[in-house]
Amino acid sequence: MCLAVPMQVIEINGSEDDFLSQPTALVESDGIKKEVRLDIVDRWPNLGDYVIIHAGFAIHTLDPQEAKTNLRLLQEMAAVTHGDGETA
């Protein structure tokens, strides 16, 4: 049930502090657009941010810094093997 592909926010309706505003966002990935709710997202997204979606709700706004760290850690782990060329 977990859709792992993060989608980009291209439109936001409603606001963070107005609970009656039915907060939604239009998100896009690979040309596919979807409307999602923002009721439960951990951080209110800005336009252009990427969010993780589950059953019509954004559950997490990705932080570019965290994602870069994540990628760097993967690259470093990959580089270990690359470097010494040893095989077990």
Partner: protein, 361 residues
């Protein structure tokens, strides 16, 4: 940063495979808790590149699979009631209960609609004012906050013909149960991705401490899973047992507290039945009294019966890691995705469905 192509780059995954294969052969058993991980591991062929001796065991993290037979029967009962239309996630449609499945009920006139989101079920209530719309709700920590938000929205809109039948569950109790079983002999846990987005990596600390078990949270891309396996193997070889987060971009230590607060506002823990595991204390979530007008179990006065699981089906044991699908005599013979006997063959995250689809016998 697109958060996708970067993580799928083969320049990244290839050396990770090599790194994983450098670990010396040794019998190691790692459980992947989450059904989405089970599927991703099969889909990307990761089982074929594991170092010798490393065994991956599927756990209790497929929500449809762990739903007890009694709950499936309750779903069918609700669907058959007069002036009721049920809304479900598609995965539930063909799960057999003792009185058939929802799809068979639909063939006999019950109103069953597949939805993508609980909010779509609420919209159905506006479309069909003469009917009671019941969302038959299954799912773990990732799904529950959205259902809580939908109930709050229904409350705000004062929608009177919408209710939820909650069979929601939380993942730590079955883990405790499984790990207390010495026969399982697990050496590490590959912890779920988006469940952890909600509850945080901290949720596994108790288990890591109590059972001295390495726990690593993993994302769903091949590189993510490879990295998490390497982190687990490093811990195992260095005899450490810590909670580590291999999915930093989507998971924090504390989790999504806004979502957790909403769940807490609408739901209250209750004892819940799990397929193959019996009733686990505090493992389910019921709708709080304040929102009882949205609680289908109260509105329709549903009591769940204790129903035996399908004869010969080993789903319960498979969910506990005791057997693999090929151990079931019905697997790929009497039981196939076209003619499923248990939920593990129906759900897109079910272990039997994964073995069948990817041809592992």
């Amino acid at each position: 940063m697109k958060y996708l192509s970067e993580f799928r780059d083969s320049a990244l995954t290839k050396p990770l495979v090599a790194e994983l294969q450098r670990f010396p052969a040794r019998p190691i058993r790692i459980m992947e808790i989450c059904g989405t991980h089970t599927m991703a591991i099969f889909h990307h062929g990761l089982r074929s590149i594991l170092p010798e001796g490393l065994q991956l065991i599927s756990g209790p993290g497929c929500p449809v699979c762990v739903t007890a037979a009694g709950h499936i029967d309750a779903f069918v009962d609700i669907a058959q009631q007069d002036k009721v239309r049920v809304a479900i996630f598609g995965d539930l449609m063909r799960v057999p209960g003792s009185n058939g499945s929802l799809s068979q009920a639909a063939a006999h006139g019950a109103q069953v609609e597949m939805v993508y989101s609980p909010m779509d079920a609420l919209e159905l209530a506006e479309k069909h004012p003469g009917e009671l719309i019941v969302f038959l709700s299954v799912g773990f920590e990732t799904t529950t906050p959205g259902v809580a938000a939908t109930i709050l929205e229904a409350n705000r809109r004062e929608t009177s013909n919408f209710a939820v039948y909650s069979t929601h569950k939380v993942i730590p109790p079955p883990l405790e149960l499984l790990l207390a079983d010495p026969d399982l002999e697990l050496n590490g846990l590959l912890c779920p991705g988006h469940v952890s987005t909600i509850i945080g990596a901290q949720a596994y600390q108790t288990v890591a401490d109590k059972y001295q078990l390495p726990c690593v949270v993993a994302g769903f891309e091949p590189a993510d899973i490879l990295r998490a396996l390497i982190m687990l193997l490093r811990q195992i070889h260095e005899e450490r047992y810590e909670v580590e987060n291999g999915y930093n971009r989507a998971v924090t230590w504390q989790g999504n507290q806004r979502a957790c607060a909403l769940v807490d506002k609408v739901f209250i823990p209750e004892d819940s039945p799990w397929r193959g595991m019996g009733i686990l204390p505090g493992s389910g979530l019921a709708i709080r009294e304040t929102y009882s007008q949205f609680d289908a179990s109260k509105r329709l006065d549903i009591t769940m019966q204790d129903i035996a699981e399908p004869k010969g089906c080993l789903c319960g044991e498979i969910l506990c890691g005791k057997f693999a699908p090929p151990d079931c005599p019905l697997f790929a013979k009497a039981c196939t995705p076209a003619n499923p006997i248990g939920p593990c063959m129906v759900s897109s995250e079910g272990t039997c469905a994964a073995y069948f689809r990817y041809g592992e016998k």
